[in-house]
C-alpha cells in the first residue's frame, strides 16, 4: 500500500508569488489533514477534509490560503500571494473512518521557503 505522498518536496518562491502544494492520501482514506510547522515551533493543524468536504478549517492562517479536495481524492493547498511568514514545512496526513480514532499517516512534507 502506497503511503501519503506530497509534491513538491521543496519549493522556493519570492514574496508575492503563488504556490500550490499537493497531497495524495492513502487510497480509501476519507480523512485528510493539513498541518504546518514554522521553523522552531510546533506542528500546527490547518484544516481537515472528510472526503471532499471541509470539516474544520479553523487552523487556516488567513484568506491567502485556499485548500481544495475535489472528488475526495488528492488535495491542494494554494498560498496566494505568499508572504515571508508562510515559510515552513507543510505536512499532510490521512486516516480512514472518523468516529473512533484511526491512525493518521503522514506524508514527507513540503518545505516552502518564501524569499
Amino acid at each position: 500500500e502506497a503511503g501519503v505522498t506530497q509534491f513538491p518536496s521543496h519549493s522556493v518562491i519570492e514574496k508575492g508569488q503563488t504556490v500550490t502544494l499537493r497531497c495524495d492520501p492513502i487510497s480509501g482514506h476519507d480523512n485528510l489533514y493539513w498541518y504546518r510547522r514554522v521553523m522552531g515551533k510546533e506542528i500546527k493543524f490547518l484544516l481537515h477534509f472528510v472526503k471532499e468536504s471541509k470539516q474544520d478549517e479553523s487552523g487556516m492562517p488567513n484568506n491567502r490560503f485556499l485548500a481544495e479536495r475535489t472528488g475526495g481524492t488528492y488535495s491542494t493547498l494554494k498560498v496566494q500571494p505568499a508572504e515571508l511568514e508562510d515559510s515552513g514545512v507543510y505536512f499532510c496526513a490521512s486516516s480512514r473512518d472518523r468516529g473512533t480514532y484511526n491512525e493518521q499517516f503522514f506524508g514527507p512534507g513540503t518545505r516552502l521557503t518564501v524569499l
Binding site: N31, Y33, F105
Partner: protein, 114 residues
C-alpha cells in the same frame, strides 16, 4: 491557552544512556496522547499512543510512555538508546469530540553519539 509543552528542545546522549523526554499538556478532561518520531529524511511515524487503561504504554523500538493524569504529563522513556534513535520526537494530543486533529508540542531533537 491550551497547549502541549515539550521542555527539552535538544538532547544529546551517548549510546546506552537512558532517555526521558518530557511532555505536558494543559487540556482539562479526557485526551488521547501520542508520541510521534521523525527520523532524518523520513515521515512522521507513530511511536505509541494512550487512550485509556494501563497508564504505562509500550511502543515500538523499545519506547514506552507513562500517563500521569495528576501531572498532565506523558513522558517518553527508553532504558538504553541507540545511535539509530537519533531523530525528532513530537508529543501530541487529540481532544474529544473533534475531528481527530492533532495538537503537537514543539518537538525534541535527540542526537545519540556512538
Amino acid at each position: 491557552a491550551q497547549s502541549v509543552s515539550q521542555h527539552n528542545h535538544h538532547v544529546i546522549l551517548s549510546e546506552a544512556a537512558s532517555l526521558e523526554l518530557g511532555c505536558n499538556y494543559s487540556y482539562g478532561g479526557t485526551v488521547n496522547l501520542f508520541w510521534y518520531v521523525q527520523y532524518p529524511g523520513q515521515h512522521l511515524q507513530l511511536l505509541l499512543k494512550y487512550f485509556s487503561g494501563d497508564p504505562l504504554v509500550k511502543g515500538i523500538k523499545g519506547f514506552e510512555a507513562e500517563f500521569i493524569k495528576s501531572k498532565f504529563s506523558f513522558n517518553l522513556r527508553k532504558p538504553s538508546v541507540q545511535w539509530s534513535d537519533t531523530a525528532e520526537y513530537f508529543c501530541a494530543v487529540i481532544l474529544p469530540n473533534t475531528g481527530n486533529q492533532f495538537y503537537f508540542g514543539t518537538g525534541t531533537s535527540l542526537t545519540v553519539i556512538p
